[in-house]
Amino acid sequence: MMKPKELIARRIALELKNGELVNLGIGIPTLVANYIPNGVQVFFQSENGIIGMGPLPKAGMENPDLTNASGLYVTSLPGAAIFDSAISFGIIRGGHLDVTVLGGLQVDEHGLLANWMIPGKKVPGMGGAMDLVTGAKKVMVAMTHTAKGRSKIVKKCNLPLTSIRSVDLIVTDLAVIKPTKEGLILKEIAPGISVEYVIQQTDAHLIIPEKVPEMSLN
């Protein structure tokens, strides 16, 4: 059976379209790069200032001047471009970024995301997340459906929000859920998972269409 993180990353990857500019957050989102479908070419932006980021370098070919937003050594592909942080966030906030994939702590019935702090426990800071959610054309959340047995898809976020802009798609190890004005629609279920199980594992109200297909995971 596929690992939950791989399943999420594979399903997200299917959403990416040829030519899109994509920013992947830390954690599960980073894995998405491994599953881009054949025939689809996307460009990866990293908010530390590059478009055209390539895979990790071979051992011995690392360069301290070329890292990604996690601080890891990366490579640059032909046609890559470097820019300073002001332009990098100009791209993000200005609507020039097609897709961002981010991790999440909670998403609520309005599609609002909380992903940058747990008051009193962990305060890493928002980094680029607030700009990404505010500015990207499409925001996808890649996260496990539950954490420590508790649903991460909630009626209303009790953690501090990342933005008041609703996300466009939530992909978990159990389901694909689309926030709409009417509420959260259950679009797909993971292989081997029942609609009832998803409902049971979800705090938020889910709108259930007549047919809920199984995730495709090419």
Partner: protein
Amino acid sequence: MKIIQAIEVVDLIGDGSTIMIGGFLGCGSPDGIIDELISNRKKAFTIITNDTAFPDKGVGKLIVARGAKKVIASHIGTNPETQRQMIEKEIEVELVPQGTLVEKIRAGGIGLGGILTPTGVGTTVENAKQKITVDGKDYLLELPLRADFALIKAKRADYYGNLQFALTARNFNPIMALAADKVIVEVEEIVPVGSISPDDVHLSGVFVDYVIVGGRK
């Protein structure tokens, strides 16, 4: 532009100064300058920087060495020591969204009184900030940031202080160089005037006060 030795920053930069430090998780940070500040036990700085890197890297080492009084940054999650000092109230931490942080610094450097950004509207970032509606959309008025010193890293300078950065080591460096009373740049080499084509200069030497030649870490 004046060429100085790294040790000279110890006299230049007084305890308690407000300093901007370039770099992104340690990539493109002026490590030689940071090391001098640490070995000479400089302290009580207000540090404006994107992140506090890792405990053993870049500005992270200065945090571990108790050099900070206050940190203004977008992310401190990769340095547990910053978290600890914040939670135990040894330092104050002000978190600013990354895109807002860079525009606040840019505004401070180029004479703007502030900028309006949609980022942070409706979140805890709003705080007591003025909200301004333009064309029916809400924005936060974010005010300029400046520092006494900007400590930045470039790949090379010429003898006029014209700078070239390398790859993602560019990040906040050219923007911070706009916004400090004194700009100190650590480079790997100084090249002759005229050897960088005018089109290839990433930041004009007019923004640079001191250049230090340091080794590649």
